[in-house]
Symmetry: C2
Subunit: 158 residues, 2 copies
DNA sequence: TTCGATTCTATCGTGCACGATAGATATGTG
DNA sequence: CACATATCTATCGTGCACGATAGAATCGAA
């Protein structure tokens, strides 16, 4: 993400002035994610979750039936090599179960336990806290979300 | 970032409908960073750098004189526990040197080697490639950068 | 100037995150 | 049925990223 404009020719001018991280779109995203993780931390520590774990739990709370690892992977955009150990940790905490699908034994279905289901109720205050801390209006946040999602989808296509 | 609006009361209604990751501002940022890292990967692999390493190199290219670890830490918003091993790897690649400051022996000053300096010239095309791949105009990207930076700074304050 | 407090970097342990790869199951073609 | 191909999850190695902590150097106040 040195992805802002450069007027001088990059091929002929070997001393193009360097873009500082502060100038780059990529750095704003990168540092915002870390700041967001820090903002979530106290809320999630009370639940014993990390941020990626919370993200997977959110996917499960909003899912209809027990999704497969592949379905989760596509939804949260993480590889199976990331998800498998993460899901094993959530299983060890007693929040979900992992079971081979009888129809297709290659797939593993993830189902919430009662403890996993009931945890959702203890997360409902978090959204408002973060939104307030963001110092932005709900409309601004929604617009930002849509812009960032559009950027992400375009980058994935390219 | 379940940080969009909830109309039902979170205290009295234990079954608040769950926000899917796709609804959350935090997830858009989180997934956009991963997409951005993937977009950078082919360009950075040619240089033998990871994205965080590239970020630190960018900070050094735009810095006036040899900054300390603490100065870099504040600029790229990473802890010394992250920077120290990262800087050691860049040192092992011959891109920079780490030396104790004579004035204040607690501090370590980071200076680019010739190889580190000259690498900058080979990065000048990357910005344009990513900007094009983003499918957004320069004005949109700059506006997005400023919005995301504002969000980050507000979250850091809270 | 002496010693308590602060500053600064490094170390350690845990948990992502990914590419490469393996291994098991399923599918399709003959 | 046989066998090549594809799909799906898991494993392994590398590199972040952070909190907690340690240890050295500096600063400050009596």
């Amino acid at each position: 993400m040195t992805d802002t404009a450069q007027t001088s020719d990059p091929q002929t001018d070997p001393k193009t002035p360097a873009l500082s991280p502060q100038d780059m779109v990529c750095f704003s995203l990168y540092s915002a994610v870390h700041a967001m993780t820090q903002a979530y931390r106290p809320h999630l520590e009370a639940l014993g979750l990390t941020y990626p774990q919370y993200l997977v739990m959110s996917a499960l709370w909003s899912a209809g039936e027990a999704p497969t690892v592949g379905m989760l992977s596509r939804q949260v955009q993480l590889e199976s090599s990331t998800l498998t150990p993460l899901l094993k940790r959530l299983e060890a905490m007693g929040l979900l179960t992992r079971r081979r699908d009888a129809e297709d034994e290659r797939q593993v279905r993830i189902a919430l336990t009662d403890a996993g289901q009931s945890m959702q109720g203890r997360t409902s205050h978090i959204a408002g806290c973060i939104a307030e801390q963001s110092g932005m209006s709900v409309d601004e946040l929604l617009a930002l979300r849509d812009q960032v999602s559009r950027l992400r989808d375009n980058l994935r296509k390219g």
